[in-house]
């Protein structure tokens, strides 16, 4: 008989349960404190998921992976690692959303539902991370994505957001179709949807049809590569990211992406590891294409959200490098890169969200234009420094977490003796550094255009006084301190204390993982060890 081990799925139950609780409580209470209550509950839900992960990590360490629900759920270190990452993102998201709601003047009924959707989407991610069966994986993917589509469209005041949600939905449904077809063919070839059984069939060579299997792998990959936005299935990413509300882009680019990759790692590294020779060339080509296209396209963008979107495509390429190696070290490297990148992407887009807030009162068409980051170092020095740390980490400069992320994936391919891939990846990494350096130059070395500030804080005459040499933003720090009321207002709207605290945490994490990455790296390694 099927054993239902509810304890093992406690992290998913916590996330899902919190979502239901939030809906229920929110519909019963009419107090003005409801906003705060909902926010706190969501944050606690994220923490609860994390706590469940920590408790189970030790149990799994001592007793081994826990299978339940007729072996369709597998709680092992890999699942727990990813659920931990996703839960943390939920926690951080919950903390940062409030200022966004206030700014966009979204009314209460909607804000509650957004928290619920984030929790549900995270549940989907957790389901995917622990799936040991292709059907469950697909269901998890749908839960994850459906919530994400709605989040993308959730700013009902903006047509852009609606458009973005629509695009995301159409493309996502298309990708899901491929994914499902791939599952069907793999089932056709091996006679099972259970990952463990597929793997056994492949080992014993007793599968039905090689053509089916290859077709299945190909379609399955197409579906998932869409989800993780790897080239050539990436076209939707910049458009969707640009249109969707920034705080949710932060969530999508971190939690949703992590879930997509864990599905790849579970299936390729677990069930299909025997036919690695079949899928490795595909991943090889896709990873190079993603790195190259993402980087080159990011170089010519002028919208910061699009820059980050393309850079996320390039990062997807780097994560695929580790998967391509098809070794335990390779998967560990990818998982570690994922954890690091999730934090970087989340924090970077959160900064974009905060920055949007700072200028939303202004009559600029595109609040995310790179020019709006000019001289950020003088206007919001703290934000600028944090953004600089995050950007440098994305560029892979030591001593930041991003360096070890790139280091470990490249180390994995060097170990697998794919020197050309390693060299190409490093060269692209240097080109990619230019993307981030460009933003740094804009923020630190370019004086703020006074017109963007409404002429309030720095007048043109102040510039003309400083001889031929243009003033660097750092000297303007003092000038901006005695600014007028409007400036204070954006400061409050754009980045309130809680947001800054979250961003500081992200920056501290980035540096800490750059100086002493050992603990998290070991977690990632034991996660990779648990692949079948």
């Amino acid at each position: 008989m099927t054993t239902l081990n509810w304890g093992s799925i406690s992290s998913m139950l916590v996330l899902f349960g919190t979502a239901i609780l939030v809906v229920t409580v929110a519909s019963l209470i009419k107090s003005s404190k409801k906003d705060l209550l909902v926010q706190v509950m969501t944050a606690l839900g994220g923490l609860g998921g994390l706590a469940a992960v920590i408790i189970y990590w030790h149990r799994v360490s001592s007793d081994g992976a826990k299978l339940s629900f007729a072996d369709t759920v597998r709680i092992d270190h890999l699942a727990l690692f990813i659920i931990g990452v996703i839960s943390s993102i939920v926690f951080l998201s919950a903390l940062t959303l409030k200022s966004f709601f206030a700014r966009e003047k979204l009314f209460r009924a909607v804000t509650t539902e957004i928290y619920v959707l984030i929790l549900l989407s995270a549940t989907g991610g957790a389901i995917m991370a622990s799936a040991n069966d292709l059907i469950v994986l697909f269901m998890g993917l749908e839960v994850l994505s459906l919530a994400a589509y709605i989040l993308a469209a959730s700013n009902i005041r903006k047509a852009q957001s609606q458009e973005s949600g629509m695009k995301y939905f159409v493309i996502g449904a298309f990708a899901s179709g491929f994914f499902l077809y791939g599952i069907a063919l793999i089932y056709g070839a091996t006679g099972s949807t259970k990952l463990a059984q597929i793997s056994q069939k492949l080992v014993s060579g007793a599968f039905v049809d090689d053509g089916f299997l290859l077709g299945g792998i190909a379609l399955f990959l197409v579906g998932l590569l869409f989800k993780v936005s790897a080239v050539p299935f990436h076209v939707w990413t910049p458009d969707v990211y640009e249109g969707a509300p920034s705080p949710f882009v932060a969530f999508m680019s971190s939690a949703v992406k992590v879930a997509g990759f864990v599905a790849l790692i579970r299936v390729l590294g677990g069930a299909l590891i025997e036919s690695a020779a079949d899928w490795q060339p595909i991943i090889y080509a896709v990873s190079i294409a993603s790195m190259a296209v993402g980087t080159l396209a990011a170089l010519v963008q002028t919208n910061v959200k699009r820059i980050l979107a393309y850079s996320s495509i390039a990062h997807a390429g780097y994560i695929l490098i580790g998967i391509q190696a098809a070794t335990k070290d390779g998967f560990a490297a990818s998982l570690w890169y994922l954890a690091i990148y999730a934090m970087l992407a989340f924090a970077s887009f959160s900064i974009v969200a905060a920055r949007e807030g700072a200028i939303s009162g202004n009559s600029i068409n595109d609040p995310n234009h790179i020019d709006n980051y000019r001289g950020l170092a003088s206007k919001q020095p703290f934000l600028a420094v944090i953004f600089a740390i995050l950007l440098l980490a994305q560029a892979g400069v030591p001593p930041t977490s991003g360096f070890y992320a790139k280091f470990s994936v490249i180390s994995a391919v060097v170990d697998a003796r794919s020197y050309p891939l390693a060299i190409v990846a490093m060269i692209i990494a240097v080109a990619a550094a230019f993307i981030y350096i460009r933003l740094l130059i804009v923020m630190f070395f370019t004086p703020a255009d006074s017109s963007l500030l409404g002429g309030a804080t720095m007048s043109k005459t102040a510039f003309s006084k400083t001889t031929s040499k243009t003033m660097s933003p750092i000297t303007q720090l003092d000038a901006s301190e005695n600014s007028d009321a409007t400036f204070d207002k954006w400061k409050k709207l754009g980045a309130n204390k809680l947001n800054l605290a979250v961003l500081t945490l992200a920056a501290a994490f980035t540096i800490a993982m750059g100086v002493y990455p050992a603990p998290l790296l070991e977690l990632a390694q034991s996660a990779a060890q648990s692949l079948v």
Binding site: Y404, D415, S472, P517
Partner: protein, 562 residues
Amino acid sequence: MNQFLDDFGLSIMVFVPLITGLIIMLIPRAKEELIKQLALGSSLATLGWAILLTVRFDIDNASTLQFVVDTDWITAIGSRYIMGIDGLALPLILLTTLIVPLCIIYSFNHWPEPANPKSFLTLILILETGMLGTFVAQDLILFFVFFEVVLLPMYFMIGVWGGQNRRYASLKFFLYTLFGSALMLISFLALYFLADGTAAGLDVVNTFDMRALSDGATGAIARTSQLWIFAGMFLGFGVKVPIFPFHTWLPDAHTEAPTVGSVILAAVLLKLGTYGFVRIAIPILPEAASAWAPVIGVLAVIGIIYGALGCLAQKDLKRLIAFSSVAHMGFVMLGIATLTNIGITAAVFGMVAHGLITGMLFFLAGSIKERYHTLDMSKLGGLLTDAPRMGWVVAFCAMASLGLPGLAGFWGEFPVILASYSPAAILSESMFRTFMVIAAVGTVLAAGYLLWMLQKAAFGTAGGGSVDLTPGATPHNGDGDDHLPKANTAIKDTTKREWIAWAPLLVLILGLGVYPRLVHEVVEPATEKSLEINVGNIKYDCLELSPSSATDCFNEIRNRNG
């Protein structure tokens, strides 16, 4: 106490500046005095600590690593926290710890535009940690991290406090260096996975430990792989040096950087590249080094000539000094390419000497710019009459830079030329003798451009550009006039602050010139060890054999390992 020094001495020296930097970040910018004193205090303390370590350093065993720390760091990727210093690193560490406080003193109350001493000092201190860390690291990843840590503060220093083209220059600096180190990292990784120390009697298979790697753990690597790995390192270190085709970032960076930035760049940063060759590339991959040596030699002599000719074409004083750096680093690289004890010892000496002299020249350029508001040599002149003391300091440094015997520069050039007369036996003698001749021509050119610079900057009177300095004064041309040009009283002579910042450098330039043994004594044993090929406890002398028998010698090592 001694035990404490052995265990924590190096870590304290490396991280004190960084920690002070972080503390300074937390102090409000209004408390400028406190910030300045703290920064100066900590850099002096670091210098003091370095001197203490030097005193404790066992000079008789300069070839062995001392104050070694070896603990777990990132076990997951096989990297350990290993630090230690030997005779190769010691002079460079002293140079670094000396230059930094001098830079802080020089810029005291005198910050480059746009001021902001808080950020400026924080960057300098972070930079110091990066530089010192690079010199003490004995693990490839630790080395790489420090090597890259240096990049960012310098990038911001050029980008924020630089001149007109600072954005271009800082970007170029950053991307060039990053490109080099990217390929270097792949080489390190390849070394890690190919290394096997078991046959050499070492208890390691895959390792980033530089000690094990240079003790024979790389012996089994196939020749082609070695060549590729060396190529990656060559790019990484070569860009930093910079070797001839990769040098174009240097003049831009130097021209745009603030005075102190230029000084640190010239005095220490360039040495990170050459130090990498001496410490990592050659001891770890001697076979590949011998194969690449001719290439390095060719590029080095091209650099010498190209740098010298480049100098003669410059109008800007700082750009001229930057090109002279290219030439001087060419001598250092030529010394390294000979693969002989004399050559490499001279190269290390050359690094120190170049650090002192060129650092000093950049200080002077900064002071001249402050006084005349230009570095255009057609508008400069008359320093000897306007500010005689400073004029003589310029003359002294120019002499030192062109390699006048008795001053430090000489010992970085002459032995290099000597060494290329008889390079290691494995190398082609005729080829290196050709290099010798070209390098010798380079010294003549060096005399040419430095004297030309001296004439432009110090002799005569200021050209037409500086009207506001001497209103109404008619320009003199000094040469045939029977009366001496009148001093421009608007120009202040060397100030007390400048004297404090410069005196140690000037004394050392003279001191090392007169008594070079101070450096040789510690460097030579370490160099000798770095050229030895030890596998297990057996010493091979492949480098001292003719090319054909050297191949057999290397194959023998490989077979032993395989």
